[in-house]
Symmetry: C2
């Protein structure tokens, strides 16, 4: 679908989009809030989701739990308006800078999926590392929004 | 090594670090510049790299090209001082906020690995999408720094 990768110099310093999808056909995607710079989520796209995101300017991902294209916000209403897309040096990961207004991006209800912080320093017991909440307020109630949909979090 | 994952509510809203490593034993890591908020790189850690990062407060990754622990900056001198670590809702990805001073994080020489932007809008031919450079100045000369080391970028 995209330009074929056949030259490392071209991939790193050329001017064509030549994304690398892994053996499952996916490329990792980092999504940040264009106003605060905070990371909202980490997801994946297949080639079709990547094309749809570029063309519609709304973030589309590949849902690994549902095994299908995922137009973010279809259920919750929190569509992500894409302001910029960046690709990295070896073109195997994507950065989306998006506008979500006052919305949320996390299925648990928080604005960012990264709502907990890991303490730094000497670890006494790795089985007992306590993490701290950095967001205290949920933007929405997942039970009301997602109703009986299965939780994408897997053990 | 870490606390065992056995309860979704605990994983999402509990207070223990219970990271999920994929079948290769890796977890994706997003690294941002703590001053500008820009994404510097996207990498991976195994459990040992994660522990070392927490304890030393210097970013350690798993190098998939060299198949070994990678203390970022060992060759280039551009060590990443970790200011904060966040974990996401289902604990399968990590956000490192780091201080790299005036340094660089990209092996091509740029400050960020995400130095090119993908244009938005209707695609005429996906094999011919031109990307734009957003950084113009290399912080270092990779040939001088890495000498004969193999390029981590693979086709």
């Amino acid at each position: 679908m995209f330009k074929k990768r056949n030259n490392i110099k071209e991939i790193e310093e050329g001017k064509y989009l030549e994304p690398k999808f892994d053996k499952n056909g996916l490329i990792p995607v980092i999504t940040t809030d264009n106003k605060t710079g905070d990371i909202l989520m980490h997801g994946y796209m297949n080639d079709e989701a990547f094309i749809k995101t570029i063309e519609t300017k709304e973030a589309h991902y590949w849902s690994r739990s549902r095994n299908s294209i995922w137009h973010k916000g279809q259920t919750s209403g929190f569509v992500q308006i894409v302001k910029e897309i960046r690709i990295d040096d070896d073109q195997d990961s994507v950065w989306l800078s998006v506008d979500i207004g006052d919305g949320a991006s996390c299925h648990v209800g928080y604005r960012s999926c990264f709502y907990r912080s890991v303490p730094l320093g000497k670890i006494k017991n790795a089985k007992n590392i306590k993490i701290k909440f950095k967001e205290s307020k949920k933007i929405f109630d997942p039970k009301k929004v997602y109703k009986d949909e299965p939780n994408p979090t897997k053990i």
